[in-house]
């Protein structure tokens, strides 16, 4: 995909020809894609296709060998540190749920809401009224209002995933990256997660990486298929499902 001279006006993120070379193995191979503002995008692809690596590049965890990632038209994320990228409004949920197990649900959310604050603020004892309200709102959204005082370590798998999504929401990011949010979830929990994500649509740009095709269909969003570090197909879920190459490398095997 050659770089266009003018980006579409509503582009939030433009991944431009990104290659990640791990000692000769190209986890990403000149990958290019656009994300529009407020868009919900699902990304599918076989194991090792580079989905997680793509998120690593966007969030600054992995530096690409070549290529750029333009955010809001002008910021090149490949030159920013992880913390800076987080402060720019990009939040990420990891494949493996990582909440702070030794802290309560409420404290996890509070800590997330304080992301980027100066030390002086972190030493203040009183929680601001506004922060408290935001914590309550997010607790409602993720359905954990009744579990606020429980240690995050004792939550069920599904609850941990929602808490992690809540920790992203409380930071009110422009771009939310979710890596396999329903992996290992019960069907009921998967259903609830889909509802949660659909509620976010429009307010945030959300990228969901997922293997669960039923879940991807429920989200009914524009879908990108990755394969061997590049885009294999892109379009509606139905269009992608019907694409013969996609069926061959990915769907056909399951």
């Amino acid at each position: 995909m050659p770089a266009p001279d003018v980006l579409p006006a509503d582009t939030l993120l433009y991944v431009d020809g990104v290659t990640v070379d791990f000692d000769g193995f190209k986890a990403l191979n000149s990958l290019s894609l656009y994300l529009g503002k407020g868009e919900l995008r699902t990304i599918i692809g076989p194991n090792g296709a580079g989905k997680t690596t793509m998120m690593d590049v966007i969030t600054g965890k992995t530096r690409p060998t070549s290529g750029t990632v333009l955010y809001e038209g002008s910021v090149d994320l490949t030159r920013k540190a992880e913390e800076e990228i987080a402060r720019l409004g990009i939040g990420r949920k990891f494949q493996k749920p990582t909440v702070f197990e030794a802290l309560s649900v409420r404290d996890n959310l509070e800590l997330a809401s304080l992301g980027g604050q100066k030390l002086g603020v972190l030493l203040t004892m009183r929680t601001k009224e506004e922060t408290r309200e935001r914590i309550d709102t997010v607790l409602e959204t993720i359905g954990l209002a009744g579990r606020r005082a429980v240690l995050a370590g004792s939550l069920s798998h599904g609850e941990k995933q929602w808490l992690e999504i809540g920790m992203l929401l409380i930071q009110d990011p422009k771009l939310i990256l979710l890596d396999e949010p329903v992996a290992g979830m019960t069907d009921a929990d998967t259903e609830k997660t889909a509802e949660l994500i659909l509620r976010l649509k429009g307010q945030h740009t959300v990228v969901v990486v997922e293997h669960d095709m039923h879940f991807v269909e429920t989200l009914a969003a524009k879908t990108t298929v990755l394969h061997e570090g590049r885009v294999l197909a892109e379009g509606s879920v139905a269009a992608v499902r019907a694409d013969p190459t996609v069926i061959e490398v990915y769907l056909g095997r399951s």
């Binding site: 913390e83 939040g91 997330a112 604050q117 100066k118 030390l119 004892m125 009183r126 005082a149 240690l151």
Partner: protein, 379 residues
């Protein structure tokens, strides 16, 4: 990993300060007001001995602040302690004035012995007590800041950090052993006479130093608990358990670590400064790597991450040490090793950690997390 043991409830905190108050009053009272014949009388030599333990307790607390809370296991905290001690020792040396063996009003004896003609630049100012006091915290603080800046910025964690902190204290030990460093070489600094004009041998001075040590420990505990209860404390726990996750939330991980690390080193420096006039000497062996490892054992015995456990561990281990070395002087290292293994096997959370755990278990899981809530819940 349910380890909400860091924090005491409000009642626990009151109990802690009561214990400190008893410690503060009882030692001077038992020494001064109970007549020497009584079985409750505390002999004169015991006052600086308990005072020494209190300094160790503060040192242990300083380590728990970084290790228990932030997960940074320093095996070089003895260096910060020793630097604080040397800063105080330099003031005490200058206080000797012309009462040294050579009677030189400016130069400490060891410098006269080395045929030095004038005081090196870095000894200037140490005749002023306020200056020395500032240096007691500033010198360890600056070293810690520089060390921490490079180590944390390069994301050196875990065992690697422990190893380079050992190397740091070892290097300092070798440096301080050298005569030409100007810190008395092998012998270190000793033969102190008085502090602020009060003779160090006088009981009043000893009690004054004891009281100052307990107050310093109290302030240290108050400060540490204050940090642990603030959002910063929860951030440090988050960094300890999942550092990169904390970074992705946008937290300034480097600043947070550097802050407690430097504060902790300054606390260790203050402990060293109070220790030196009570034991009457500071020499390079205080930098020895084994000393720093011992501090980590005190913290482990008391209960890592509990803050109050660290001072208690220091008392338990050093009390045992005094008693044990009286009986079998050669076997102490073996005894210490056995104690450490026993605690690791039977009380992995240390004495206080285990007590807190038992209390939480009795109260049921619901209470486990409300431990903290009164501080900031309001909801």
């Amino acid at each position: 990993m349910n380890d909400r043991t860091t924090l005491l409830g409000p009642r626990g905190r009151i109990a802690m300060f009561l214990v400190l108050a008893v410690l503060l009053v009882s030692v001077p009272a038992l020494n001064q007001w109970v007549p020497p014949g009584s079985p409750f009388h505390l002999p004169d030599h015991a006052v600086p001995l308990v005072g020494k333990y209190v300094c160790y307790a503060l040192l242990a607390l300083s380590l728990d602040l970084v290790w228990g809370l932030a997960g940074v296991l320093s095996l070089g905290h003895g260096a910060f302690f020793a630097l604080g001690g040397y800063a105080m020792g330099m003031y005490l040396m200058r206080q000797i004035g012309d009462r040294g063996v050579y009677g030189n009003p400016e130069l400490p004896d060891f410098m006269v012995f080395l045929n030095w003609s004038e005081l090196p630049w870095y000894w200037q100012g140490f005749d002023q007590f306020p200056f020395a006091l500032v240096m007691v915290a500033l010198v360890p603080g600056i070293l810690a800041f520089v060390f921490g800046w490079f180590a944390f910025r390069s994301r050196i964690t875990g065992v690697y950090l422990s190893i380079i902190s050992q190397a740091m204290t070892y290097a300092l030990m070798l440096a301080f052993f050298r005569n030409d460093m100007g810190f008395g070489g092998n012998n270190g600094l000793t033969d102190f006479k008085d502090l602020l004009g009060y003779p160090l041998q006088a009981m009043e001075t000893r009690i004054g130093l004891y009281v100052a040590s307990v107050l310093a420990l109290g302030i240290g505990l108050w400060l540490s608990i204050r940090i642990a209860n603030a959002p910063l404390g929860r951030l440090l726990i988050a960094i300890r358990d999942a550092e990169s996750r904390a970074r992705f939330l946008g937290h300034r991980v480097l600043a947070a670590k550097l802050f407690v690390w430097t504060l902790s080193a300054m606390m260790a420096g203050v402990a060293g400064a109070l220790y030196v006039p009570q034991v009457g000497i500071i020499n390079p062996s205080e930098f020895s790597p084994a000393n720093s490892i011992e501090v980590a054992i005190w913290v482990a015995v008391g209960g890592r991450g509990t803050l109050i456990g660290a001072p208690i561990g220091a008392f338990i281990v050093n009390g045992t040490k005094s008693w044990f070395t009286g009986l079998f002087p050669e076997l102490w290292l073996l005894g210490l090793g056995t104690l450490f293994v026993a605690v690791t096997l039977f009380l992995p959370k240390g004495v206080i950690g285990t007590l807190i755990e038992l209390r939480l278990r009795r109260a049921g899981p619901a209470l486990a997390a409300t431990n903290l809530e009164p501080e900031h819940a309001g909801a």
